[in-house]
């Protein structure tokens, strides 16, 4: 039973990372109806800068974190302002592809700068640190992932519910033209959405990278697993991203924990596709997700 609880804990921790990435997707989608395929590579750039900050430039973790957040937010803002804004009104296909273009450029940029060999993650925790309780090992990184996710969600909730700009963002998501008429600066809203998404992605990247002793550029691909999470939760729902992320994280880790017992039937690597299988099931039954608004059109 301790094994099961260990898996549940690990699943929730992984799910929180998906939730952080998914939050970025959801916030950008809510504001501008764009799915940012480059979210994972923003995370990657953040993780590499923090790693370089700690081990190459010896800045210390928190200064490196600040630097990483600043750089990714800057990339997000510049991309939104100078590229995506020129694409308004263009077909979905084009917008999707231009974010994939950014994704490729960021990833190869990282490879050209740092090479494709694994680098150590910049993290304030030792990979072995943590405590045991009831036979379950609570790793420091995983515990902090959960805590930071909860704090960030609370902060975002407060921001969206009680601040002027949060209200402006919700109003824009609801009805862009009406918001414009009410004197809301849509440009600020878009910039805010991209800035928040990039910053959260970088924080997610710190925890994701710190799960192992070294990481390389495949880290960005992990962010693709946030897609099943947001589809499950509802693509335009911020709380849905969190719930979806945790469910997907649990499903993935629990499958990974038990798949070896069924290896003769399932083969290897089935945990890598369980999130996608769940997503396809959700799309068939409830394409707008658990918390999403019912406007996803079907044929």
């Amino acid at each position: 039973m301790a094994y099961f609880f260990q898996l549940v804990f690990a699943g929730v921790a992984v799910g929180c990372i998906y939730a952080l990435i998914g939050l970025g997707f959801a916030i950008i989608f809510k504001a501008s109806e764009v799915i940012n395929f480059a979210q994972g590579e923003l995370l990657l750039v953040g993780a590499y800068i923090i790693s370089a900050g700690v081990f190459e430039w010896h800045l210390g973790f928190f200064l490196s974190l600040l630097l990483g957040v600043i750089v990714t937010v800057a990339i997000g803002l510049l991309f939104e302002r100078f590229i995506l804004r020129r694409m308004i009104g263009r077909p979905v296909f084009s917008i999707l592809m231009i974010t994939i273009g950014l994704d490729i450029v960021l990833r190869t940029g990282v490879i050209l700068r740092w090479g494709s060999d694994p680098v150590p993650p910049g993290t304030p925790f030792q990979i072995t640190s943590g405590f045991n309780f009831g036979g379950v090992h609570f790793g420091a990184n995983d515990v902090w992932t959960i805590i930071v996710t909860v704090v960030l969600c609370a902060a975002l909730f407060y921001f969206f519910r009680f601040t002027k700009y949060g209200l402006a963002m919700r109003a824009t998501a609801l009805d862009q033209e009406a918001a414009l008429v009410m004197g809301i600066n849509i440009n600020t809203v878009y910039a805010l959405a991209w800035g928040i998404a990039a910053a959260i992605a970088t924080i997610g990247g710190v925890f994701l990278a710190a799960k192992s002793i070294a990481f390389d550029t495949t880290l960005g691909g992990t962010a693709l697993l946030a897609f099943p999470a947001i589809i499950l939760g509802g693509i335009d729902s911020v709380s849905g991203a969190v719930v979806g992320g945790i469910i997907i994280g649990l499903a993935e880790v629990i499958t990974a924990g038990y798949e070896s017992r069924f290896a003769s039937i399932l083969g290897t690597g089935v945990h890598e596709i369980t999130p996608y299988l769940i997503m396809i099931l959700v799309l068939l039954i409830r394409p707008y997700g658990i918390f999403g608004t019912r406007k996803v059109e079907r044929v």
Binding site: I35, M87, I100, G101, D103, T108, G221, T268, I280, L283
Partner: protein
């Protein structure tokens, strides 16, 4: 794409454009034929390799253009359908296993395994389509992305068919005693394997281009483009949206299967990791750079994305990145096509083919009034690309000779 392309309001003639109908197109045809012959005679194996991969990529880009360009459905799943085609070819045409560890091979003829590769991919497309096409836009993109990952899991585990993570060999085309893995005599010429593939691929690409060009001028093809331009409008005109999308999905899968089989056959040995998301994205890059909803665009795009980086590499125009830090030329290529995607989407959404067309308009002497953006309202919902794609495309043929 229509709103950008609808700007040019070119009158449509009542007669369907004929294959090589104008003097200019005949001249272009003869010049390109001569260029092909000269290339064929003088090119070394390294050049032939580049061009052969480009020809295969052009078939795959054509497949993607049917679905994404002409029908407007986002797809990141092309590599999955290419893999289905490749493994069908391998199972049907591969060498019979010598030990129980070898993957299956039935050693059937090229004339069975190549069409079967397309048909198998089309069948899988027909199976997956009803599920995938329930959603659209970004959602379809994500579903097709999931398809790639699920496919990789299947290919890695189905050892009997794919050889598992170690990969497997793929059959070469064999015509009687004329096997493509060795030099052969044809009309007194000695042909290298590269030259043999070049001829075969050229024929298959030509057939595929003619076929797609014809389909797009048929009732079904018009329906595809109507669905792309305005789904509601298309439905009102009596087009069954589901049927049109399924048709495009199946046709696209068929061509992708053929391309996959040829790719694997030319490479000879392929591991399942080949059929990944990056491969799919390269084809999306190809149609964006070359030209969405255009046959010549698919071919040019394949050349830009698949041949240009290799040519640059060949002549080492780029300073060779320090290999010690683990930077491969593949990374430089990725940077090039990543930038190409962004640049073309921003500044020339019609792709290279739009540049070609515009330069052609500049050289033309007599023109009908050509107000840029003048009649947008009037033509906005026409399947505009088609109105002016076909008359300028050399490969267009009379509708009577339509294979299907």
């Amino acid at each position: 794409m229509s709103s950008q392309q609808a700007k040019k309001n070119i009158p449509v003639s009542a007669d369907p454009p004929r294959l090589l109908g104008t003097a200019a197109s005949r001249v272009v045809f003869i010049i390109s034929l001569m260029a092909i012959i000269v290339f064929f005679l003088v090119a070394g194996e390294d050049w032939l390799t580049i061009i052969n991969y480009t020809l295969i990529a052009a078939i795959a880009a054509l497949a993607l253009n049917v679905l994404s360009g002409y029908t407007g459905q986002v797809s990141l799943g092309l590599s999955f359908f290419m893999a289905i085609g490749a493994y069908t070819a391998a199972v049907l045409g591969g060498t019979p296993p010598t030990s129980s560890l070898d993957p299956i091979g039935l050693n059937l003829s090229f004339f069975i395994w190549l069409p079967a590769a397309g048909i198998a991919a089309a069948l899988v497309g027909a199976l997956v389509g009803p599920t995938a096409l329930r959603v659209k836009g970004f959602y379809l993109g994500i579903v097709t992305l999931a398809l790639v990952f699920i496919g990789q899991y299947i290919f890695l585990n189905a050892r009997g068919l794919t050889g598992g993570p170690q990969g497997r060999t793929f059959p070469v085309p064999v015509f009687g005693t004329f096997s493509f893995d060795q030099q052969n005599m044809l009309f007194g010429f000695i042909l290298t394997p590269g030259q043999q593939y070049f001829l075969l691929l050229l024929v298959i690409l030509g057939l595929a281009a003619l076929f797609v060009g014809n389909v797009m001028r048929s009732r079904a093809g018009r329906a595809f483009q109507a669905v792309r331009d305005n789904e509601t409008g298309a439905a009102i005109m009596g087009i069954n949206l589901f049927e049109a999308k399924m048709g495009a999905f199946i046709l696209s899968s068929f061509l992708a299967g053929i391309a996959g089989a040829l790719f694997a056959s030319y490479t000879r040995y392929v591991v399942p990791y080949t059929w990944d998301l990056t491969l799919s994205i390269q084809f999306v890059a190809a149609i964006i750079v070359g030209g969405v909803a255009s046959i010549w665009g698919s071919i040019l795009g394949a050349a830009f994305v698949f041949a240009l980086p290799r040519i640059i590499e060949q002549f080492s125009l780029l300073p060779s990145s320090s290999a010690s830090s683990g930077v491969s030329s593949g990374d430089v290529n990725a940077l090039i096509y990543g930038l190409l995607i962004v640049i073309f989407l921003l500044f020339e959404p019609g792709g290279v083919i739009a540049l070609v067309r515009r330069s052609r308009l500049l050289t033309r002497t007599t023109r009908t009034p050509e107000e840029e953006g003048g009649d947008v309202v009037e033509t906005i919902n026409l399947p505009a690309s088609n109105v002016h794609v076909e008359p300028s495309v050399d490969s267009s043929v009379p509708t009577t000779g339509e294979p299907s």
